[in-house]
Amino acid sequence: MDRAARDRLKWKCRRGLLELDLVLERYLRQYPEDAELAELLDLPDNDLWDIVSGRSDRFDGNLRDIVTRLRAN
């Protein structure tokens, strides 16, 4: 991933919910180049937060790994 791609991903992590800002900021510090993340970032804020906080399991099966990492983070 080049710098612009990293920054693009970083900006997609700027959300309307502070909860997500914080979790995603922490996650990016650990995994700044996780391209899989982009797919999750297209979800509406509340749906994404429900997934990250473990209240919902409504996400594509092939995203299981990244969701696990996000939840553990």
Partner: protein
């Protein structure tokens, strides 16, 4: 020097939150060509975080009317709100909420099919009686989310043009007559600056809660509209008034709803004492937001805070048991575990009063027109510029906002500014004005300075210092020595911000550049706040001074105006006269 690209529209709206999208819809439906610029995808605007609801006296569950709502709002504002604007908002509340329902907003419903309404702090029946009004309309705990999605879909249908990941940098004014003719904006993808020219320009850029270290606001809330207005020579109004929420998670800011204390949770100091019993013997932990926040701050200030830094208190709820915590307080456990590393079923949650809502902003009237003193007039209209939502100061919230009145403000003043803009656009000649020769120059100069700076301050360091200074010197409870020292410190922070440098100068999608540009806006907002707070020698609403504990209507029932130029202050009277009803005379505010 190469020319900047120019895009021309009838209307340019900066911000795609609730207020910006409501205004854009009005304009697009009037068949005008509308551009909406936004830093993030529209439905990721901060409005998405709103849970509690929207106030409207629909009287679906209890008797209610706009007069009662108006009284509550005037009283809540601690008599600093403009009563004409408050009357206007309360009278149009039912209309804008029902309109939103017709657009498809999936409000919670009563069995009879009408919109369900619930009580909310400060909203009463019969002019402040002990009976609560049921006035808040909600979509479960997702009201803001539903509102943004509804408005976005309507805008797409009405052909509003969205410019996503575009950041407005500066206003463009015609020096001949001061008229606003658009904004210069940065396309993040390419890093290029363009001019968006409009016959009418609206600021709907939201709040600036990120000037505090402890904030419930998302990272995007950097006060860009305020910075742009200040740099263009316009004043910022009543910036000393910021609402604090008592229970933000220590170190993170994430809000823990009042519902936790409603269910029986309470606050403890380091001695394990339930200190609210001393401050509010009756209401205790359920006293109003400002009372609880002040008590917490006093405990911390007097050395009874918790933790190694003695800088927070604890919210205890483990006694409620897992049943109540898991079922009646959904989401709270997840938040505590994720952000405080504590499981509330076993331990208490560390909390601090956390900044939540900005009452001040760009001065505007109830038609959204931006107003500023000029010649003999205290409120001369700035031609071409409008403001709505949290970035504006209309002023309906005065010194303190009532919960659920903000989403209402977005709808009413989003709509009224859209209506007024459409009207004004039609009176202007068809062709756009000629752009001044130096249009966009200030923005280009800001970028050029960043590009040229070989070394200097780091953006993140300056931003942290700014937030720490505001938190320590201009928080919930304000002490004269702290304020005076804080003003000096903030001036130093501002000077440092003028010397920031970024390592990577590349243009294409460079977030470091964007964050450096946002810092300029945080600086203007923070300076306006602390200078205005230091100067106001009274306590009113959200401004609580240790040395002037009382409200002083004789000397201070007036609005503050702060100018960037020399940090100058001016004042203007509060509109005490409503549009059609008798004034509500100031009384002591007790609940």
């Amino acid at each position: 020097m190469s020319e900047l690209a120019v895009r021309r529209f009838d209307a340019v709206v900066v911000g795609a939150g609730g207020s910006g999208m409501r205004a854009a819809l009005e304009l697009a439906r009037a068949n005008l060509k509308v551009a909406v610029l936004t830093k993030v995808f529209p439905t990721r605007s901060h409005t998405v975080a709103a849970q509690g609801g929207i106030a409207a006296p629909l009287a679906n569950s209890t008797e209610d009317n706009w007069h009662w709502h108006m009284y509550d709002t005037v009283k809540g504002s601690d008599y600093l709100g403009d009563q004409d604007a408050i009357e206007y908002m309360c009278r149009r509340a039912n209309e804008v909420v029902i309109e939103l329902e017709h657009m498809g907003m999936p409000f919670d419903r009563l069995e009879n099919g009408k919109i369900y309404q619930r009580p909310f702090g400060g909203h009463t029946q019969d002019y402040g009686s002990a009976k609560m009004a049921m006035r808040a309309c909600a979509v479960a705990d997702r009201t803001g989310h539903a509102m943004l999605h509804t408005l976005y879909q309507q805008n797409v249908r009405a052909n509003t043009q969205f410019f996503v990941e575009w950041m407005a940098l500066d206003l463009i004014r015609d020096s001949q007559d001061g008229a606003v003719i658009g904004v210069a904006a940065l396309e993040m993808e390419t890093g290029e600056v363009s001019i968006f020219q409009g016959k009418a320009t609206l600021f709907a850029t939201g709040g600036a809660g990120r000037i505090y270290a402890a904030s419930t606001n998302a990272f995007i809330n950097t006060g860009d509209g305020l910075g742009m207005a200040a740099r263009a020579g316009l004043p910022l109004q009543d910036m000393e008034f910021w609402q604090f929420h008592p229970t933000g998670v220590y170190g993170a800011g994430v809000l823990i709803t009042e519902g936790v204390r409603g269910e029986g949770g309470y606050l403890l100091n380091k001695d394990g004492e339930r200190f609210m019993e001393r401050y509010a013997p009756n209401a205790k932990d359920l006293a109003s937001r400002d009372v609880v926040s002040r008590a917490m701050t006093t405990e911390i200030k007097e050395g009874r805070g918790c933790g190694p830094e003695a800088d927070h208190v604890l919210l205890k709820l483990d006694h409620l048991g897992p049943e109540v915590i898991n079922h009646r307080l959904p989401g709270i456990r997840e938040i505590a575990i994720k952000f405080a590393n504590t499981d509330p079923i076993r331990e208490s949650i560390p909390v601090v009063p956390t900044v939540h809502y900005q009452m001040g902003g760009v001065p505007a009237n109830y038609l959204g027109q931006v107003v500023a003193p000029e010649g003999a007039s205290q409120e001369a209209i700035v031609p071409g510029l409008y403001a709505a939502g949290e970035c504006s100061c209309v002023s309906v919230h005065g010194a303190n906002r009532l919960g659920t009145n903000s989403l209402l403000d977005l709808l009413v003043f989003g709509k009224s500014s859209g209506e007024q803009m459409a009207k004004d656009i039609r009176t202007l000649p068809r062709p756009h004005r000629n752009l001044p020769k130096d249009a966009g120059e200030p923005s280009r100069a800001r970028l050029a300075r960043l590009d040229a700076a070989g070394g200097g301050e780091r953006v993140a360091d300056v931003a942290i210092e700014l937030r720490r200074t505001m938190q320590a010197h201009c928080g919930v409870f304000r002490f004269p020595e702290d304020l005076a020292a804080g003003v000096e410190k903030m001036k130093q922070v501002a000077a440092r911000a003028g010397r920031v440098a970024i390592e990577d100068k590349s243009k294409m999608f460079n977030t470091a550049r964007v964050e450096a540009l946002e810092l300029d806006n945080l600086v203007e907002t923070a300076l306006a706040t602390i200078v205005s707070a230091e100067a106001r020698k009274e306590s009113r609403g959200a401004q609580a001074r240790a040395d002037f504990p009382d409200r002083d209507d004789k000397n201070w029932m007036r609005h503050t105006l702060w100018y960037k130029d020399g940090g100058r202050l001016a004042y203007k009277p509060v509109h005490l006269k409503p549009m059609t009803v008798a004034s509500f005379e100031p009384k002591v505010r007790t609940y």
